[in-house]
Symmetry: D2
Subunit: 354 residues, 4 copies
């Protein structure tokens, strides 16, 4: 008799709900994890609204940690019963794009994103991990699940924003938007040696967290025009690097404008609308200004996870400051609703499975 489990799914565009599914069986290279903690991401909400197209009864969620429940025969990196972490992005590590070094683009553009996109996600009592030898890692004893779960996406994506920004030691950085990814980009900019980090947002809780996470200045874009303010703070020179953490034309455009010639614009945001994202021609130096525009998708894999977990372990960042709400798994629909309305100043809701 097949054992079943509870799963929170996207029934179709616009509709979510709980359902029963068989507990997955691992192939030789796979693993099945018993979920302990998860986080809801704004992109889960977008998915349900149809951002990546129709899905039928697909389990939602891509940020979770758990315990190794059943491992394929070829998986040696962890043992059954181990407390394990897995990134939101789970590359195969053997296709052309992976071997080229672009594992988040596994097999195709954005193809490393498999959870709740091309296979079931993590909002269920058990979830399946492909290519587990490369994607699973142990969680250090001193890192609790509720901190470790942030490594799956928030830390990895936010820090990537800083890494891609090519910040010189002692350089200056502006981070546009201070949602969870933007906050982690702020921390990341510090960890990449920025001597000046300017954060932009308007929501009080986020602005306060930006300060706590190390921003030297926080601009409230409802009170001051960010481009002008950043130029003012830098004697008209602009900053060495900018990080876009919203995915909007207005912030992208501001990034181009405040980045020095020779600087880098690093994108972490998902651009969800329109046929085009538009570069302001003059401030870009009419195509000759040495301003580089880089993008990326949350880097995955066990090595990435080990490094992020050790940053938590050794006190470089405490992501749990971002946990504004907690819900039991059978209340995950409430978390979803809040993440949609952004009521109650929600930042990240933690989902408890145990």
């Amino acid at each position: 008799m097949v054992k079943t489990m509870k799963a929170f799914v996207m029934k179709k565009i616009g509709e979510v709900g709980f359902t029963e599914k068989p507990i997955p069986e691992p192939g030789p290279n796979d693993a099945v994890i018993k979920t302990t903690k998860a986080l809801v991401c704004t992109s889960d909400v977008h998915t349900v609204k149809g951002a990546i197209g129709e899905r039928e009864n697909q389990t939602l969620g891509h940020e979770a940690v758990g315990v190794a429940y059943k491992l394929g025969s070829e998986v040696n990196e962890v043992k059954e019963g181990d407390r394990v972490a897995v990134n939101a992005i789970t590359p195969c590590y053997k296709c052309e794009n992976c071997i080229r070094g672009f594992t988040s683009q596994c097999q195709q553009l954005l193809g490393g994103w498999k959870f709740a996109n091309i296979k079931d996600g993590v909002f269920s009592e058990y979830f399946h991990v492909n290519d587990a030898e490369a994607n699973l890692t142990l969680i250090p004893d001193s890192v609790p699940d509720e901190a470790a779960v942030y490594a799956a996406d928030m830390l990895s994506t936010g820090f990537m924003g800083a890494e891609n920004a090519d910040i010189p030691m002692g350089g200056s950085v502006a981070v546009f938007a201070q949602g969870p990814v933007g906050l982690m980009a702020t921390v990341g900019a510090r960890l990449q040696g920025a001597s000046l980090v300017i954060a932009v947002d308007t929501i009080p809780r986020r602005m306060e967290l930006a300060k706590q996470y190390g921003a030297d200045f926080v601009i409230d874009f409802r009170k001051a025009e960010p481009v002008e303010e950043i130029l003012r703070l830098t004697d008209g020179k602009g900053v060495d690097s900018t990080i876009e953490a919203l995915g909007a034309q207005i912030t992208f455009e501001a990034c181009i404008k405040v980045t020095k010639p020779g600087g880098t614009i690093s994108i972490t945001g998902y651009f969800g609308e329109g046929d085009y994202v538009k570069i302001p021609r003059l401030e870009w130096g009419v195509g000759m200004g040495d301003k580089t525009i880089r993008t990326g998708l949350c880097p995955g894999g066990k090595v990435r996870m080990q490094r992020l977990l050790r940053l938590i372990e050794n006190g470089r960042v405490d992501p749990t400051l971002m946990t504004t709400h907690k819900f039991k798994f059978d209340e995950v629909d409430k978390a979803f609703h809040l993440m949609d309305t952004k009521d109650d100043d929600i930042l990240k809701p933690l989902i408890l499975f145990d």
Copy 2:
């Protein structure tokens, strides 16, 4: 009595002509060069049409070689009477942007471009070079002036297109447009290890030169849709790198579309129109596709020139294949006219001063 010289100037927007000017005197760090050969650039034509604003009696031209005529007291790199080359871009090497490593952005966005922009250009019997110790270099005996003069802009800009494209050894590259800069980008792609170079143009002379300069395939964009054709030639995968050598929305957009996830789009073209240059959102991976967009302006300085001249000297490239026309200095206005109409399949007109 001040000695004077003949200069070909932009009298005002839309009007060119010859005039007499005093031969310049060098300050301690400057040099004055007696012009021997020059090239007309399409951007000279744009300048006269007002692309960079009004100018009054400013000498035109930025591609020239000559003989060191008078050197400032601090200039030791060359001696009076030496045959010397100078790049179109002449950075100061001591401002913040130069020290940051972005010498083409000297002092301000695009500020390394001084000839015929913020000071007199090279279309005169003598011309002035700022910061000559860093900007002048000897021309090797075996490199004739008519070849060396191509290092000033065409080689430096075209090769930069290839260098910025981050081509993996044995990678694939598409070069959009095969004007002189595009042709040199084609050569540059070969010199950066590309195993597959696909060139795009439609003018027969240019397509033929593209082949001679090493393109493996040349697409006539009037006969085949370049994006489709490049995908066809690469089994639907696209190329590792693209080089944009036109400065137009249509080619920029094609670059984004045919570049693999993780690949680089390198811009050499001057984008002259519109408020925005538009990135096609989906093919860009909605801001998460690891596609990097780089730009740059012709790298200057004596070290660059030495390296480019040695590439000519040792037979890596023969730029003189691009010289379709020759004019004496007092006929430079005819060259200008042809570069505007592009009649007679003109590619580069060489101007003879001696």
Copy 3:
């Protein structure tokens, strides 16, 4: 009944011979290849002499191409019957070092080297390939086996030497030793944009090939002291990059001496002797001269192979000029003997299996 095949093995240190072995069976991720062509490498000779320790009846050889004979269930990159190439280095692509990006150091220092080191090599009628999805690739129709087989090690290692040398466009390079790897480093330096390539050797056949492969100067180290000669050829400045392709103290030391401050010394040679390799302190700038020393082991994987094969296909390099001798498989012992004595000016012996 188990089918057997003929294999050429190292019986023990100092002794080689033919033996019969079972044709290997692939696991789900593996492949078995029917050998068509192979090359003997000097390192095979070293192995037999005990360079990597004792082995018992281990099949020799790491450079081969063949036809896919039997594929594991998870292998989709090629089909049975396809003509395929595989690199000498076959990483697993899922261990920590592979994921860190250092696939040649798979699992441990130098651990990507599996053929004839930690498992049977390729000198047998059939050979086994681990992690075949990542390691196998099709050979293009227009590339014959006898050319493709050079991609396995000679091209990959030699070109790596040039890639690691960080050659600026138009830079200068010296390549020490013109064995097959050194010759490919010479080609590689051209393909990385060097405007000046100086090769060093003394054997006439190698010096002549160095010229054919694009060296601008070839120094016979029995007729001139290479360090002095390189400084003479560069006005006392030295070169931007050096490539060591021998694995000896004398050439390593020369590399440090002729590399400019800020330049790179790239090692491709196997250093087989002594407790230490010694850096000359003063010429190294007493530890402050910005001279970088890089090393590496033949990069493997299907993407590398595809790129190398396309460089052959599109005429960037003809490695078959290095094939000085041909032997049938049952004469491979003769090839071995010649590679040991280096008699008859042998460079690379091709072994024919079909």
Copy 4:
């Protein structure tokens, strides 16, 4: 009548003392600074012992800040009367090596080091700065002289050690020796995103400061063998990067041994003895282990100084914790003596001129 000033000089090898010298006059590109604070460096002591050869009455010292006293006609970056900082290394920014990007190797190997090497140093009431436009910068109001003076060498060199170490975000680093440069390398490793910093020393004061500056572990090499201990702390894997901050064979060798395949060994130490620095062959991977050895000399120039000063200004590092002693200028000989004997646990003595 020429105005004179007091200077502390190396009279000859082994002998120091005070003398009177004329106050220098600036050329058009130079500046003369009135000294306010300086630091003594162990390398000053080495210089007096003859490490860089004989000198006659050459003023000692290379770490100082002051007030712009007299500026050449071409110097616009600062005004007379401004409080200014200058790096220990003062490149010309127009020679070939500077333009190549290796400004510390100005004109020749290590040639960026001019103070107390090829011209008078800073231990005098006034000192001369060459190429002042590129080398001088304002000190921010909120940064006191006694902190700013550390940017001249200690921060710049120590941080360079971390920058050259190519530390991955969340990577692991070992720093050998915790003198002032090693301590700043420890801070630098944190600022480059290391999640694990292991420092090695034995002097209690230094070990304690290493902890304060952010080391996660400090190994006392008299109590534990550092190589074994580092391997133990990293599950036998070693670290991603090592920083050598002593300039000795024993620490260099340990660096090679504990660096992972694919990792980087970054040298900040001055290697003062012997004909050779020796690489342990096997742990280096016999020349194929992908272990990179980088070196460098304190990066100079105004942009570097601005970034370092802003790191102090915005609280990323407080270098004054290293000031163990203070002396008036006329007691600088006492500071020298202590730096030689290392008595009284001296780390850095601050010299007060005002």
